[in-house]
């Protein structure tokens, strides 16, 4: 077991956690506006999956994409400044929390209409295949997305055309206030994939290594022979749907139960058992990550807002 790998994943997940905790504070202070969807509790999915991909593989995500953006770009400053709506944000303050992009690093959003980005991800994979390139496309979405027509059409075309896209369903058990069982008559979203048919696997989304392994294996296949895969990662969001949501629809017991599976806790314990970390080291990583986040916050706070006279730029080329 590669110590550096585990330590890297731990740091990645912790960065996402601390970044969002800071964002939540800034939101409470009215410094961040609009919708803010936190990924806290789900960090193992983005970290594990994106760590298994090459930097040249494409990432397509939802409005709950801070961790994915950080995992791919490492750009805490650009992300925080974007949440602050500053000109130095990764999309100049035009996108906001739900619409992060980094074309150069192949991070393709940041989409906020449920399901709409699945066909788009299939299209990115289509382009790779069209060009004879072996890049894979990772498409993240939630459990609540499984009933959207765009989900169906995206999977159907990916299957029909054997497109190298990995659909990663982040099953955090809820779509806003709606528990999955109230909107899905089957137990696993993965069951749906089989009807296309797309090879599907279910993993413990709170185990970063299990996620990473499954994604590595899928990408390996996709590179050899283009075709879609479907991964369902069972996880849980510790916070509300967005910071505005008190999440009263869940019992304290339920949340407690899942918090015992906190992916950071799980990984820290594993690293301890493996003897590749100590409390001091974990503390050091935390200090380091907090410093990085603090730097991003200061950068965001000191950055200028986009100038009003640029408002009509970038509607068209």
């Amino acid at each position: 077991m590669d110590a550096a790998l585990l330590q890297g994943l731990y740091r990645q997940m912790l960065l996402a956690r601390r970044f969002e905790e800071a964002a939540a504070r800034a939101y409470a202070q009215g410094k961040i506006k609009g919708f803010l969807h936190l990924y806290i509790g789900q960090e193992a999915v983005a970290a594990g999956a994106i760590s298994a991909a090459a930097p040249t593989d494409y990432i397509v995500a939802t409005y709950r994409e801070h961790a994915h953006y950080l995992a791919r770009t490492g750009d805490a400053r650009g992300a925080m400044a974007e949440l602050y709506g500053k000109a130095t944000g990764c999309v100049g303050g035009r996108g906001g929390s739900m619409h992060l992009f980094d074309a150069r690093r192949r991070f393709l959003g940041g989409w906020a209409i449920v399901g709409g980005h699945l066909p788009i991800a299939a299209g990115v994979a289509f382009a790779s295949k069209y060009r004879g390139e072996d890049d894979a496309t990772l498409c993240f979405f939630g459990d609540g997305t499984a009933n959207m027509g765009a989900f169906h059409e995206g999977l159907a075309l990916a299957s029909q055309w054997k497109l190298p896209v990995l659909f990663i369903c982040e099953n955090n058990q809820y779509a806003m206030g709606t528990p999955l069982y109230r909107t899905l008559a089957v137990d696993d979203v993965a069951v749906r994939a089989r009807g296309y048919p797309i090879e599907a696997e279910i993993v413990n989304g709170d185990d970063v290594l299990e996620v990473r392994e499954a994604v590595r294996h899928a990408i390996e296949h996709m590179r050899r022979e283009p075709r879609p895969f479907f991964l369902e990662a069972k996880t849980y969001r510790f916070r509300g749907h967005s910071v505005a949501d008190p999440a009263k629809y869940r019992t304290r017991e339920e949340v407690q139960k899942w918090m015992e599976r906190d992916p950071l806790k799980v990984l820290a314990e594993r690293m301890a058992t493996l003897g590749i970390t100590t409390d001091e080291q974990l503390k050091a990583v935390d200090d380091d990550v907090r410093a990085e986040v603090q730097d991003a916050v200061e950068f965001a706070e000191q950055s200028p807002a986009p100038a009003a006279d640029t408002v009509e730029e970038h509607v068209y080329v």
Partner: protein, 340 residues
Amino acid sequence: MSEPRVITFREALREALAEEMERDERTFLMGEEVGHYGGAYKVSDGLLARFGERRVIDTPIAETGFAGVGIGAAMVGLRPIIEFMTWNFALTAFDQLVNNAAKLRYMSNGQFMLPIVFRGPSGAAHALGAQHSQALESLFAHVPGLKVVVPSTPADGKGLLKAAIRDDDPVCFMESEVMYALKGPVPAAEHLVALGVADVKRPGRDLTVVTWGKMVHVALEAAEALAGEGIDAEVLDLRTIRPLDAAAILDSVAKTHRCLIVQEGWPFAGVAAEVATLVASEAFDLLDAPPVRVTSLDVPMPYAQSLERVVLPSPERTIAAARRLVGHDAPAPRAAASVR
């Protein structure tokens, strides 16, 4: 009994829903989070407890699906109220509204009525970005077979929603996130506002400001400021976009000879252009100046407040346009997009 109480826009809409569901057992509410969660914006809070799961139905995220379910149910005599969490998401069900709901009555030669209301918030709130900030009434109002209602006050919200629910045609009812907490007097007794009837929210002599929905408040604020300068603006709230109360617009313009239209949405081929065209063609000889539009800039909505602020119509832009219009000294303003 019937002296008005002051309640919020949200409460007024909830009363309309409750009263109509009480009144007609064929009426039900369906949409994402409308039940157990009480509505993403709490409009339907408490209705599940009151009416039960049979009549307050939480849906999966499947707008095409539940919009279509509503249409089917309305075809056979139910009176569905379909909530879109926001109208932005209704674009995924656009085919159901435009190709099916708007066409059924006509292509069945009047065999079917389609008493269905599609409702939810439309337009910008604050910093919700390009995909969540669209004022879409112009798209739906373009389509014959649909009716489009955009209320501006709690009382109108209640009265118009009740009328929409009792209407036998498909109605697109567009609310506003930022107005849900707005307070105003609402009659406690039965209160209905007929569709298709505009309302003078502020009488005036010097110019007519035609507007609707959230923009009514922008117009009223502008009118107050203009009054200070001796410019007396009449604020005409369309309330219903389709059918359009053309007579009310023309009557007002016949009095003021000047027409300013304030619309939240994009300028190109919007409702404001329809109103401007109506006025220009029907009241041409009565006009002392060309009709002027104040609308959002012709851009997707940016997230940053520094940008969003300049995109949306404001009292300032409305005041500036009104001054030009009344003065009619400055050159006639260029297309709406550049009216700042």
